[in-house]
């Protein structure tokens, strides 16, 4: 029974989001810090170093951590205010059970009751419908230790194949492309390489709002004289001073990259020795772009041919260059192809494995890098091993001390898993730190699916919109309430230090999973006293795998301000820059070009839905907003989603700044204020996706996925935009 127990308004009234505006005791409390702890921001994949100040088991503020080399004290507004997620009125402080007769629809229960109920439902559903009918969803805000534990817990605790994670909605297509082309899935370079590049090309990444600190690296390159190329449907803030702007139409990036490769070949701006000595399949990639002229690409992408030629010339004739891409090219139904086409440009010009040279994703989520290495993906085992590969299975079975047949096979990726719930094939769900009610495409469908679950338990620190559907809510722990590690977008493993203990009856996430496993009779696989032991097991289990942490220790990570994996043996210094000497991670040491013929996005504009929609983020909010919609200063900065629309399109539709507009797709519609700005393509509107319900951008997005990575197409949809009547004025009573 996973329908919301009471109305959405009643749920919000009790569980928020309410706003935390000030530190404990208020601004004038003058509480002195008892401890100042070096740790990291809980939000994006940059994992900026930060010092958190604590007193009386509460986080009371922050100090810049100037010595941490990645960000040297810098923080974005989310990092500045992140401490306000602690001591929050919405924090879940005890286990709860769905009860429509209780205020807010949930009643307080004991841990004994909550865990017994979870375990009895797991057993009932699995014995009735089979082991895979109970699924698990996970998130990469979790540390490496928790990510690893979730993977092992789902396979050996629950015994289900159906485990996936929310990185599926983030950068999984980039990971798939990295493995296919380069043999390993990690950023190609430490960020210290960016200032060494003569040309910096950003593709589908709003760096200023989603990776603000990375801006300083790009400006450093600019100070050195680097040329900056920005490829995006919007003139995003860091594009303002770009030397070249490529205003690509949503969903056409592979055509643009294809035309650039076409030009590199036509002008012989190629590194023939590199291609010859370090790669395979250049000829196939070249054949696929034989007809992709700049003029052809201009028609598809909307980017003038002359700008495509200019980008090719700068990329092809510069000694060094880095291409940084993110969700804009990755969250498409051809996300993997887009990334492979980008990698082709690096391989063709030999821009890998040298200072200032690389093609890399900018990982989005906090532990988006580490979280995609340790086995909580549906197709993956620790060490970034393949769950369908017999040798990989045997290695992990040995590390886990289990029979290889005890490890289930490949499960469903996140969206397919939600669709299986909707079809009634999956009956039960345990979810941790994943809010698909906001983040999954086609919100109305997601809601229907959650309603159909026979049993749903959610582990989280706040009651997210997804947790509204839960039968049992288990209060887990915040980033600052436990020790562990995460791995940044650079591939740098960093140490997360506990600042405070979980409040009330909230418990460490690892403890909750281990307790469930113990009650399922599987406790012997989870004999942990704490997360350090989990990390040590993770390192052993990763040994010999692609994401090899063998030589990493908590102490070294802390002492060395992070370590870049692979760390394949004890005492190994780590590997900041990959592919040095042209050595790639396929068994033969060579990279692979891929033929990337162009194909259109999963939905195209037509007479009924004539405008392109693209979605994304704003700087003051993070992902589904579970944390950041509860922090006063951040909400004040950008309180509600706005629909960005170009004045040419706005005029045609009779819309002026501040009008409310109804944006409709074949899935549903939302009504939002218009922001009329000349910084977006005139055939495209943009809506940030951090909000739920009637303001959810994902009401509009389509359930179409990349066939290789199962990444949904958040970045492209066809919509209709109409001026909406003004909202009814509230009548004073």
């Amino acid at each position: 029974m996973a329908q919301r127990p009471v109305s959405e308004a009643d749920l919000i009234d009790r569980f928020g989001p309410h706003l935390n505006q000030a530190p404990p005791g208020g601004w004038d409390a003058g509480i002195e810090a008892e401890r100042v702890v070096n740790t990291h921001c809980c939000f994006c994949g940059q994992q900026c170093g930060i010092k958190l100040k604590a007193a009386d088991n509460q986080v009371i503020g922050f100090e810049p951590w100037y010595e941490f080399p990645f960000n040297e004290g810098k923080l974005c507004p989310k990092g500045v205010k992140r401490y306000l997620q602690g001591n929050h009125p919405d924090r879940v402080l005890y286990p709860m059970e769905r009860d429509p007769s209780s205020p807010g629809g949930f009643r307080r229960v004991s841990w004994e009751h909550a865990l017994d109920r979870v375990v009895s439902e797991i057993q009932r559903i699995q014995s009735t419908y089979g082991p895979d009918s109970f699924a698990m969803l996970s998130g990469v805000s979790l540390t490496n230790e928790k990510s690893y534990l979730v993977g092992k817990f789902a396979r050996l605790g629950l015994g289900t194949a159906n485990l996936d994670y929310n990185g599926r909605y983030c950068m999984v297509s980039a990971g798939a492309a990295n493995k296919k082309a380069l043999g390993i899935d990690r950023a190609s370079n430490p960020w210290s390489d960016i200032p060494l590049a003569d040309v910096v090309w950003t593709a589908g990444t709003n760096i200023a709002e989603t990776f603000p600190i990375t801006t300083s690296y790009i400006w450093k390159a600019r100070d050195r004289g680097a040329r900056l190329i920005v490829q995006d449907p919007r003139v995003v803030p860091h594009a303002r001073t770009a030397h070249l702007y490529l205003p690509v139409r949503p969903g056409t990036d592979s055509a643009l990259f294809g035309a650039v490769l076409h030009e590199l070949i036509r002008h012989d701006w190629l590194d023939h020795a590199f291609i010859e000595n370090h790669t395979h399949d250049f000829d196939q990639a070249a054949a696929a772009v034989a007809d992709m002229t700049p003029q052809w690409a201009a028609d598809i992408t909307g980017v003038p041919a002359a700008r495509i030629e200019q980008a090719a010339e700068w990329w092809g004739t510069s000694a060094t260059g880095m291409l940084l891409h993110a969700r804009g090219i990755e969250q498409q139904s051809k996300g993997t192809e887009n990334c492979l086409a980008a990698i082709n440009l690096g391989l063709a010009t030999g821009k890998f494995g040298k200072p200032g040279c690389g093609v890399t994703t900018i990982t989005g989520q906090g532990n988006g890098q580490g979280g995609r290495e340790h086995g909580h993906k549906c197709d993956q085992l620790p060490g970034n091993r393949d769950i369908t590969n017999p040798e990989h299975r045997a290695a992990v079975a040995a590390a886990w001390g289990c029979d290889v047949d005890e490890i289930p096979g490949k499960g469903l990726p996140a969206l397919a898993l939600i669709e299986a719930i909707h079809r009634g094939e999956i009956k039960g769900l345990l979810s941790i730190c994943f809010n698909p009610a906001v983040s999954s495409p086609d919100t109305n469908f997601t809601r229907e699916a959650l309603d159909k679950l026979e049993f749903f338990s959610n582990i989280d620190f706040f009651v997210s919109e997804t947790a509204h559907h839960a039968d049992i809510v288990l209060p887990g722990s915040l980033h600052e309430e436990g020790d562990g590690t995460s791995t940044t977008g650079e591939g740098r493993i960093v140490k997360i230090n506990a600042v405070v203990d979980p409040p009330g009856e909230a418990r460490h996430d690892w403890w909750i999973l281990v307790e469930i496993a113990r009650r399922l009779g599987r406790g012997h696989y989870f004999p942990y006293e704490g997360t350090r032991e989990i990390f040590e097991e993770l390192c052993r289990a990763s040994s010999g795998g692609l994401a090899d942490y063998t030589g990493a220790t908590w102490d070294r990570i802390e002492d060395e301000m992070g370590m870049f994996w692979p760390v394949p043996e004890v005492g190994h210094p780590g590997t900041p820059r990959l592919y040095e000497g042209g050595r790639f991670y396929h068994p033969d040491g060579r990279a692979r070009f891929h033929a990337v013929p162009y194909r259109p996005p999963g939905e195209e504009v037509d007479d009924d839905y004539p405008v392109w929609l693209t979605t994304g983020r704003v700087v003051s909010q993070y992902l589904s907003g579970t944390q950041t919609r509860r922090i006063g200063g951040l909400v004040a900065q950008y309180p509600e989603p706005l629909c960005e629309i170009h004045p040419v399109l706005a005029e045609r539709l009779g819309i002026v700044q501040g009008d409310r507009v109804t944006v409709s797709s074949r899935r549903g519609s939302v009504t939002l204020p218009a922001q009329v700005v000349a910084t977006i393509r005139p055939d495209t509107v943009f809506i940030p996706y951090h909000w739920p319900g009637a303001k959810a951008a994902n009401v509009l997005t389509k359930r179409v996925v990349d066939p290789i990575s199962a990444m949904p197409e958040f970045k492209v949809a066809a919509v209709r935009v109409e001026r909406a009547p003004a909202p009814p004025q509230e009548v004073a009573t």
Partner: protein, 208 residues
């Protein structure tokens, strides 16, 4: 590696480079967190014209050598430190008249009715007096707000430092610097064409 602390002999400078600003408001959020500001953000961040551009402009107090705000204060409530930092109004003296708010050529002071007092950027005196960077320049992700020595600036950054301004016939010299394109190349030609041609027509609406 940035230097965490500066001594008096280092003579650190504060620099605003608007061209680097990305409008993220980290400075606005962090200013409120500075120990003595107690939840009040004293920095300004202007959206220049969001309808046409994402350009934003952060504004701290420029800390004028001969501050206009202090000149016009009828209560003599605005003082400078020995280091040239112009402070918020002194509570016992401030009469809340807002002369300073109106007179400042940079639009910096803010009047807070709830405390009937003018407060303004004090360059985080509590931090800088201990050798730490001000809060805004500590967190600024794009280094549009920057604090360091002249040598560090020349080593790490481009552009020319400016701190002399003419407002009509009033000459103003400031402690805080702003940055313009390299002046070694001769006088700035404000009528020159765009260096980046795409800016005139980002979406090629008027043809390729």
């Amino acid at each position: 590696m940035s230097t965490a602390r500066y001594g008096i002999e280092d003579q650190p400078i504060f620099v605003i480079d608007q061209s680097r600003c990305i409008g993220c408001e980290a400075c606005v959020q962090a200013c409120a967190e500075c120990g003595t500001h107690r939840g009040r953000s004293l920095i300004h961040l202007d959206r220049v014209d969001r309808a046409t551009t994402t350009q934003t402009a952060p504004m701290v107090c420029m800390h004028c050598a001969d501050p206009t705000c202090a000149q016009v204060c009828p209560a003599d409530a605005i003082k400078q430190t020995e280091g040239g930092v112009v402070q918020s109004s002194l509570k016992p003296r401030c009469i809340g008249c807002s002369n300073c708010v109106l007179a400042c050529p940079f639009g910096v002071p803010k009047y807070y009715a709830e405390i009937d007092q003018m407060m303004k950027c004090d360059m985080c005196t509590d931090r800088t007096s201990e050798g730490y960077k001000p809060m805004c320049a500590s967190v600024c992700p794009s280094e549009a707000l920057w604090y360091g020595t002249i040598d560090e600036f020349r080593e790490q950054r481009t552009g020319s430092l400016i701190r002399d301004f003419m407002f009509g016939r009033q000459e103003v010299r400031t402690k805080v610097y702003t940055v313009v394109d390299d002046l070694d190349g001769g006088p700035l030609d404000v009528m020159a064409g765009r260096t980046q041609a795409w800016l005139d027509d980002p979406f090629a609406l008027e043809g390729p």
